[in-house]
Symmetry: C2
Subunit: 422 residues, 2 copies
């Protein structure tokens, strides 16, 4: 099935809003085995919209139009859809009642211009929007099926997942069940993971499994799209491949599906009734901010200390030794002191010795990581190159991932693709 | 001049890469008074590319094509450009020599497949890429001028600013000088600022000044595009409008042009030979991380303390009073103690009393802000509603902005649009 996405709106066309809806929709369709073949962006302009709809009918079987369903005069999607389909706009009583209820529940009266949002082309099928007043709809223009969706990302997401994708799958004659399995890893580059996983899809000889990646430094997402006749079939196909992926990527998998690294670290600490203290330097609170704001962190996260100067670090945790550079022993002493000071069961110290001079592509940092408990301290030294931001982001991720490894009983010093020999 | 942007590449079409290039280009063009009328996205596919180029010639005077200039077989832009223009690809000796020098300087030999990047359509004008091996070029297809640019954002940005925009302006017959003036503010919503600035453009009666906004919560950017015959003329037109904008937005302007809030706070502290200690709770290191990683912060940022529990906050700064809730006096004592403890001239404490319960749209937090120096403490209490993330981001911004106001001698308790009465 050939699918086109048409994004509408002056704010998107002028770049005033960064358009994340296109990428979201395209990924969601890819994840269920559907492909977008063309993307169009036009403003709130009658002539452009009509021409965009007309052109799409010449090359696509299905079109998703995003935006233009609002109550104001520059929201033109219903009007131009009706014009392109050669039908009238009619009031949809069901949606009008729903909108009035929406306002009533908030103790307000519906403004008159919202009535426009219930005017749909006479041949349209309504697509429910459970979280807003913009009503989605589907209709044929020529031989092409058009799906009209709201521009507000939160509303779009619900409608794509609950209304549009099931209809597209039904039309494409795809198998009943499609499941997306995701693994998040840190420490291996995309091409490295690609070669490690070579041939893994063929463990399902019917070709029902598709492998893909999405890199967002420092993490990599490995995605498996599994198609089957039903969910049992999907599970049967996925099982051997999941086992093989876990074997090949091993300790580098830090989370799956909607889990996050910091969420898993927090959960592991909470499960053990543990508490955490963090000491960081150039990462500047980047480690604390990944953990301490999470729901439930108030019971686990004891204290974070940020300082750029080693003397301040030592003073803050009450280590009286005079030191002029960061060492293994110094890092261990800092972690242990921070743990005791805050009365925590665990402490993580990430102390960065940043190269001197202006920012540049080969500016690096030596990352000293120490994890303390009442049974001792684990230490790791690493070196990351790539400029200030790259080093800072890398050190945050490495520090959190070492803590994850420690909490799950995995080696904390397994070498990554992103580090140089210190 | 009607301008179209064509983004190419399977990774962009499938959403594997989030396409930020389109919005960047569109904004840059808007900023110099040019407008994009159509956007197209297609994959690395000969038929789609040729059709996209053909369609663009029917509706645009100028087209910017992004991507497809790399060395691999799926990079097709030069080939399809030549085909669409009905000309041959020829080797550009100048670019070949430049590429070879690029590799030689890095102690490497140029791989043979990079030679492809120097094959340009015979009628093409070369567009320099000082930071990569992808050569840009311009040529006519029909009556439309096409500009081909690299997909790597860093390379694209240089080429758009240095090569493409000057050529587009020359073709559009626009005035010689165009200047973009930006003001960053916090605390006033977009529609509020819009009404405060009503009519300000008419202070230049010739219509050479255009006003625009870009909101990225919690900050708002107010942009003035000024067109004149030369830079003196631009300055003359801008001066009265800038004065008026500063008068109307007053203390809410926190930075201009490329400045940032945190950069201005750091600069003000550094200029006064001052140093800073920070104490934060639910903001979780978000304040420290805005300041402490900046170049030069190592001389200014003394210490940051993060804790979710009030007892931990008090213990960390050495306040022995037992307190069960955050008060004005308590916040002031914490800030003053943190300042003394770290030997800093200034301390900022941002202590958030977050509402209980699950995340929801009306979940709020009471924000206690205290700024201590050796001359005493300034205190402010605010309340922000809107869910966990909204409260956290708002508290970070409010805390930093109060510190800016304090350092610049402005009132720290001026009411914002984003807060409720505590």
């Amino acid at each position: 099935m050939r699918i086109e996405i048409i994004c509408t709106g002056d704010e998107v066309l002028t770049g005033k809003i960064n358009n994340t809806n296109f990428g979201y929709m395209s990924q969601k369709l890819e994840d269920v085995g559907l492909s977008v073949i063309w993307g169009t962006t036009v403003g709130d302009d009658r002539k452009s919209l009509l021409e965009a709809f007309r052109l799409a009918t010449t090359r696509a079987d299905a079109v998703i139009v995003n935006g233009g369903l609002g109550p104001t005069v520059d929201d033109l999607s219903q009007e131009i859809a009706a014009q392109a389909a050669g039908v009238e706009l009619v009031l949809n009583e069901e949606w009008l009642a729903k909108m009035e209820g929406f306002f009533t529940r908030r103790g307000r009266t519906m403004p008159p211009n919202n009535r426009k949002q219930a005017m749909l082309p006479s041949t349209a099928e309504m697509l429910d929007n459970p979280v807003g007043t913009a009503c989605g709809f589907a209709l044929d223009i020529g031989k092409t099926r058009f799906f009209f969706t709201p521009g507000v990302p939160r509303e779009l997401r619900r409608m794509i997942e609950e209304q549009v994708i099931p209809r597209l799958l039904a039309r494409s004659g795809a198998p009943v069940s499609i499941h997306l399995k995701r693994f998040h890893s840190y420490g291996l580059g995309e091409s490295h993971v690609d070669s490690l996983l070579a041939g893994v899809e063929t463990l399902d000889p019917s070709g029902g499994v598709k492998l893909g990646f999405r890199a967002h430094y420092p993490q990599l997402e490995t995605k498996l799209t599994v198609r089957g006749t039903d969910m049992d079939d999907v599970r049967r196909r996925l099982a051997p491949i999941e086992t093989e992926i876990r074997k090949r990527l091993g300790n580098f998998i830090l989370a799956q599906d909607d889990e996050t690294l910091e969420g898993n670290v927090l959960a592991a600490l909470a499960k053990g009734g543990s508490t955490l203290s963090v000491v960081e330097t150039f990462t500047s609170g980047g480690i604390a901010s990944r953990l301490a704001a999470l729901p439930g962190a108030e019971k686990v996260f004891r204290r974070g200390i940020v300082a750029r100067d080693l003397a301040q670090v030592l003073d803050a945790v009450g280590v009286t030794t005079v030191a002029t550079s960061i060492t293994c022993e110094g890092s261990e002493a800092v972690a242990q002191a921070a743990r005791r000071q805050a009365g925590a069961t665990h402490a993580l110290a990430v102390l960065v010795d940043l190269d001197e001079g202006a920012d540049r592509l080969d500016l690096g940092g030596s990352i000293h990581i120490a994890i303390a408990t009442d049974r001792g301290v684990e230490y790791r030294l690493s070196r990351i190159l790539g400029g200030r931001d790259w080093v800072r982001l890398g050190a945050i991720e490495l520090g959190l991932d070492c803590l994850r490894r420690f909490l799950f009983g995995l080696p904390v010093d397994e070498r990554t693709d992103f580090e140089k020999k210190p």
